[in-house]
Structures are given as structure tokens and as C-alpha cells.
């Protein structure tokens, strides 16, 4: 086996094996590595689910916000594992770096955010449960019916989507969702003010 010193040799070197096509070893040829990465993804999933649950269950709003931050970071990790570098970075930059900070700032402006006597359920709980179940079934159905490219080996072998392509796509066919994201950011900003705003009548 020969290790090629690539231009960026501090990154994992390309391992040239005898029985590889195009001189490249793919992950599936190295079961231990594949296993580690799989475990990592499962860990990230656990972090996401646990964080999501905790963010709902914590009484303290600040703790809930921290748990939510964990969820967002976990999702970013999953993106990273799926070779969506750009998306992962944007996820961290926007959600963790900006939105969550604004959310925490908004929490700081509320009174009694750490009050243990706050109720976690109200009369809308049942409606929320119904809505949640509906959403869950919808998502499960969607997952089942989508033709995931994971099963498509050709798609896997193709190089990852570059930032350039992504940029062209964002400002081309997907310009509308792109604008939606900016609307969400504005919403977060306004939300921060709204949370801090006390009803004048009350």
C-alpha cells in the first residue's frame, strides 16, 4: 500500500489499494470505519431526539433553549455526515449562532422564565397532541414514499454537491425558498420583541 501525499496531506490521505477501482477506497470497503460513522450518526440522532424531548420537558425556559441548541447542533452534525457541508455550516451559523441567541435574548427579557410554578400544560394540550400525531403520520408517510437516493449507488458515487452548484441553485430555481429563510429570520427578530412585549391591557 502506498500513501500519496496530496496537496492537503493533513487530511486523510487517499489510500491506494490493489483491489480498488480508480485507485480509491470507498467507505464500504472499510467496515470498521463505516461502523464508526454509522454509530456517530446514531449518536447524533439520539442527541436530536433527546434534545427535542428535553426542550419540551424542561420547566426552565433557559434550559429548554439550551436543549434546543443541542438539537440544532445535532442536525448540523447529521448534515455533515451526509456530506452536506455547506448546509451544516449554515445551520450552525444561522440557527445556533443567530436564531438561538436571539431566542435566548428574548427569554432573558421575559419575567419568571425560571419559575418552577409555571404550568407546562394548558387547555390546548390535547389539540397540540392531535396536531403532533398528524404531523408524525405525515412525516412517516413521506419517508416511506420518497425514493431515497441512498439506495441508488450511482448517486452515492458521484462527487458531493459543491458550494458553487448550491449557490447557483439557490439563486436560480430555488430562489423562493431562499427568500422564505430570510422571512424566518425576520420572524425570529420580531418574535424576540413580541416575547418581551407586555400586553398593555394585562
Amino acid at each position: 500500500m502506498r500513501i500519496a501525499v496530496s496537496d492537503a496531506s493533513f487530511t486523510p490521505p487517499r489510500v491506494q489499494g490493489r483491489n480498488t477501482r480508480k485507485g480509491l477506497t470507498t467507505l464500504s470497503m472499510m467496515p470498521p470505519l463505516e461502523f464508526i460513522i454509522k454509530m456517530g450518526i446514531y449518536a447524533l440522532m439520539t442527541v436530536c431526539v433527546a434534545g427535542a424531548l428535553l426542550s419540551v420537558l424542561f420547566r426552565n425556559l433557559f434550559h429548554a433553549a439550551l436543549a434546543l441548541t443541542g438539537v440544532l447542533l445535532g442536525i448540523a452534525g447529521i448534515y455533515l455526515a451526509l456530506h452536506a457541508d455547506f448546509l451544516a455550516m449554515i445551520q450552525v451559523l444561522i440557527y445556533v449562532g443567530a436564531v438561538m441567541t436571539l431566542v435566548i435574548f428574548a427569554i432573558m427579557l421575559t419575567e419568571r422564565f425560571g419559575d418552577a410554578s409555571l404550568r407546562q400544560f394548558n387547555h390546548q394540550s390535547w389539540a397540540a397532541l392531535g396536531g403532533g400525531i398528524l404531523l408524525l403520520t405525515f412525516l412517516v408517510r413521506m419517508i416511506q414514499t420518497t425514493p431515497w437516493p441512498v439506495k441508488n449507488q450511482a448517486a452515492l458515487a458521484s462527487p458531493a454537491v459543491t458550494v458553487v452548484q448550491l449557490g447557483e441553485a439557490l439563486l436560480g430555481p430555488y430562489v423562493f425558498p431562499f427568500e422564505i429563510i430570510s422571512v424566518i429570520l425576520i420572524a425570529a427578530l420580531i418574535g424576540a420583541i413580541v416575547v418581551a412585549r407586555k400586553d398593555l391591557e394585562a
Binding site: S6, F10, T25, M30, L33, V163
Partner: protein, 385 residues
């Protein structure tokens, strides 16, 4: 020359080649990552330790003092002594503090500070991980520091901490925006987000094609560096830990090793941000005669020296002035700068140079005029009798 330049790279590939003789490929890959991680894990804290010594020495020299010189020759063991002191100090947690968050915050703040080392090109072929989204990775990871600072300030249940935390969040969010925008011209010109590619793009004229020598690069460098100083809470933007006002800001209630972690994160941020500034604007490891990694460290430490120099000279901004500088001066300037970079890219050289300098100068002048409230007044002093 070439040998010195690539000494670390060759060392690593030798190790990996040797290991490849008896290890399976997947283990070699893991080993490769482990070596990089190990190097970072050593470089980070050691940098921090000696930055504290350098800071104290440089400040002392600026103040007609000697600085620490009792521990070891030239005080070289001082960081070690400090480390031992920090480790053996009592860990005090305030009674009403949120114990878990209080514990987690210093850890949270160190993680991003260490993570960003991954994309810094320490020399030719010496990037731990040449991500295609390197710059974005750096900026996004370092933006998570805000949450850690906020957790620390909130969990301490101290009013000074809270004030410091509020200042820190306001400051870091505000300065992130002009900082990101000041990087955009570089990304436009190099058409890449990878730090390695950005450094390679500055290799013209025998390693002197640094972006800081272009008008837009210079403006972006000033903007970026000011924002970097603000991002790592250093003077004159040290409001979150303003000693004379709010004691120690968000880490008022931290002692012992937890405090050391905050300190470590601050100094590692100072180092990595200087390193990124050197990478983006000062050509990273590009430069003649010396090995590439030497150039990198020279540039980075020069920028760190400027940070220390700021600290030794300048008074602190006030909250509103600090926000004003970010939103009313640096932000519009960096937006204009993107246009200037585009102009530079598409216009003919003489027009490009003159035009972009004129545009930047004019906009700088206009923004200064618009912020007239903050320019010094001329005063005349009368004398009695």
C-alpha cells in the same frame, strides 16, 4: 529550503507510511486524523499558555516595566506556574447558581475555540482539514461561542455577570455581521470558501500577492480585524469583561480551572482569529525565503501583537458607541466594499485602482460625517485672570 518547508508534512506521511505497513487502511485513516487532532490539542493550550506570557511581557514593556521574569529564564515557566495555581484553586460555585449550566458553560466555550483550528492552513500542505466550506466553518463554529458566554453569565446568578453577558451577546452578534461581510469580497474573488484555496490564490508575485495590498482587501482587512478584536472581547472592545465597570463580566463568578477555560478560549480565539485574518488577507503561509509555516506564525503573531498593542493603549468603548461602530460604520463600509471588489475585478487596472480607492475613501468620509456625533469636538479653554 523545500525540506524545511515540508518537514512536518513529510514527518507525518512517513509515520503514516510506516503504519501502513502493518495497519489496515481504515486504521491508517484514523491514525491520520488522530495525529492532526493531537497536534491541535497540543498547539491550542500551549498557544494560550504562552500568549498569556507574551501579553504580560508586551504590555509590561509598553508600560516601562519588565513583566514576569521570576519563574524560569525570562519568566518562561510562568504559564506553567499559573496553570498549577489555577488547577489547585478552590472551585467556587455561587449558592444560587444553576450548577449544571455553570459547569457546562466553560466547556462549551472551549470546544468551538478548539474546533476552528481544523481549517487553519498552518503552512503549505498543512491544513488539518481542507474543507470546501472552510471559511464558513470557521465563522459558524465561532458564532456558537455566544451561547456559551450567555450560559455562563446567566448561570452565575450575578448581576455583573448578567450585564457582561448581555453586552457580550449584543457585541458578538453585531460584529459577526460586518465580519462575515468583510470576508465576502475575498470569496468573490477567489471563488472558493476553502482556506487552502484562498491562500493559494494569494501566491502571485512570488508570494506577495496578498489581498491586503488591494484597496478593497485593505478595507476588508481593517473591518475584519476590528471585528475579530471585538469577537474575542479584547480591548478596546472588552466591554463584556470590562474590569473597571463590571468586575470581570460574564466570568465574574468563575474560579480555578473553569476560569482558566474561559481564559484559554479567549486566547485561542485571539490566536485563531488572527490566524484567519492572516490567512484571508495577509497571504497565509505565502512569502519568500522562509518556510511557509514560519511565515504563517510570523503574520499571526504580528496581528496578535497589534491586539496587545491596542490593549496597551486604547480606552474602552461604551456600549452604544461600540454598537454604533458596528452598525453605522463597519457594516455599510463592508457592504460598499463588496461592490468595490466587484468593480476592481471587472474594471481595467488603472481605473480599478483609482476608482476603488476613491470609492472607499469617499464612503469612509461619508460614514464618518454621518457619525459626526462621535467625532471629537474642538474645544477652546479660557484662562481666568
Amino acid at each position: 529550503m523545500e525540506f524545511m518547508d515540508q518537514i512536518f508534512v513529510n514527518l507525518k506521511s512517513t509515520v503514516l507510511t510506516l503504519a501502513g505497513g502493518f495497519l489496515p487502511p481504515w486504521a491508517v485513516i484514523l491514525l491520520c486524523a488522530a495525529i492532526s487532532l493531537g497536534v491541535i490539542a497540543v498547539i491550542g493550550p500551549v498557544t494560550m499558555m504562552y500568549l498569556t506570557l507574551i501579553e504580560r511581557k508586551v504590555l509590561a514593556r509598553m508600560q516601562n516595566r519588565i513583566g514576569p521574569n521570576r519563574t524560569g529564564p525570562w519568566g518562561l515557566l510562568q504559564p506553567l506556574a499559573d496553570g498549577i495555581k489555577m488547577l489547585t484553586k478552590e472551585d467556587i460555585v455561587p449558592k444560587n447558581a444553576d450548577r449544571i449550566v455553570h459547569l457546562v458553560a466553560p466547556i462549551l466555550i472551549v470546544i468551538p475555540a478548539l474546533l476552528v483550528f481544523a481549517v487553519i492552513p498552518f503552512g503549505k500542505n498543512m491544513i488539518p482539514a481542507d474543507l470546501s466550506v472552510g471559511v464558513l466553518y470557521f465563522l459558524s463554529i465561532s458564532s456558537t461561542t455566544t451561547i456559551a458566554i450567555f450560559s455562563a453569565s446567566w448561570a452565575s446568578r450575578n448581576k455583573y455577570s448578567l450585564l457582561g453577558g448581555m453586552r457580550a451577546v449584543a457585541q458578538m452578534i453585531s460584529y459577526e455581521i460586518p465580519m462575515v461581510l468583510s470576508v465576502v469580497p475575498i470569496l468573490l474573488v477567489t471563488q472558493s470558501l476553502s482556506t487552502g484555496a484562498i491562500v493559494r490564490a494569494q501566491g502571485a508575485y512570488g508570494g506577495w500577492g496578498w489581498f491586503v495590498f488591494t484597496p478593497w482587501g485593505f478595507a476588508a482587512f481593517i473591518t475584519f480585524f476590528l471585528c475579530a478584536v471585538a469577537e474575542c472581547n479584547r480591548s478596546p472592545f472588552d466591554l463584556p469583561e470590562a474590569e473597571s465597570e463590571i468586575v470581570a463580566g460574564f466570568h465574574t463568578e468563575y474560579s480555578g480551572m473553569k476560569f482558566a477555560l474561559f481564559y484559554m478560549a479567549e486566547f485561542m480565539n485571539a490566536f485563531t482569529l488572527s490566524a484567519l485574518a492572516a490567512t484571508l488577507f495577509l497571504g497565509g503561509w505565502q512569502g519568500p525565503w522562509l518556510p511557509s509555516w514560519a511565515w504563517f506564525f510570523i503574520k499571526t503573531y504580528a496581528l496578535i501583537f497589534i491586539m496587545l498593542w491596542f490593549r496597551g493603549t486604547l480606552p474602552r468603548f461604551r456600549v452604544d458607541q461600540m454598537m454604533n461602530l458596528a452598525w453605522k460604520f463597519l457594516l455599510p463600509l463592508s457592504l460598499i466594499n463588496i461592490l468595490v471588489a466587484g468593480f476592481w475585478h471587472f474594471a481595467n487596472p488603472p481605473l480599478a485602482i483609482g476608482g476603488s480607492i476613491a470609492m472607499l475613501w469617499a464612503s469612509g468620509w461619508i460614514f464618518t460625517r454621518l457619525n459626526r456625533d462621535y467625532t471629537p469636538e474642538k474645544r477652546t479653554y479660557l484662562f481666568g485672570e
